[in-house]
Symmetry: C2
Subunit: 103 residues, 2 copies
DNA sequence: TCTCTATATCTAAAAATATCAATATGAATT
DNA sequence: AATTCATATTGATATTTTTAGATATAGAGA
């Protein structure tokens, strides 16, 4: 299990789009359309759907998701041609606990 | 009382120096020298002492402190020629609670 | 008033980030 | 194998952040 790093998490979330992505992923079915393959609640949301939500280019969206993943805030799962991203709830919880202690 | 903004807090703390300043201010007497006027625990720490700790220029240190203050994470008090900065514990608590709910 | 001393602000340069278009990759299908 | 679709990566530019030096300000004391 990844050990969370406060600074890296802050850097990733200090951007309005990346913060919004993580927050929207709290209630996937509320913010993203249903998917043919993969349940948004179970498997995560594909990059294309996330891109529509944020209104930025495909490449920027992909880069942002990679950044959130490096910070340990989301996980990705490849299924066929799609990549599904979802929140890493365990790490987010860990981060909040860490903040309570060290911030 | 200022209402905390998650994004602004993340932006301010997504910098290693600013994060370290806030963390060092948790235990002022452990990280900063005693002051002739003003108790580091009660009144806060003057800019000069904070600057020594971070090893950056006076102007940068002052700018960083202003940024932390705009984000609601510290307060400042002017006494004579010195400005003393201390943590805004109420807002920091509020921020952590907000993160627990909204992040 | 003149001069220190501490801090804030202004200006400018260098470094990092944001962002997109183009291209590459990889899986599924024809 | 050629095509298509979704995503990742690369290359390039625009914007923001970082950072320091110079200057301004304000209080304390000679």
């Amino acid at each position: 299990m990844m050990s969370m790093n406060i600074l890296e998490a802050f850097k990733a979330l200090g951007n309005p789009t990346r913060l919004a992505i993580l927050q929207n992923l709290r209630e996937p079915e509320k913010h993203f359309p249903p998917q043919d393959e993969g349940d948004v609640n179970v498997d995560g949301v594909c990059v294309g759907s996330i891109q529509e939500g944020v209104g930025l280019s495909q490449s920027t969206t992909s880069t942002y998701l990679a950044s959130l993943q490096r910070a340990g805030l989301v996980t990705s799962k490849r299924m066929g041609g799609w990549t599904y991203y979802k929140r890493n709830e365990a790490n987010i919880k860990k981060l909040i606990e860490l903040l309570g202690k060290e911030l």
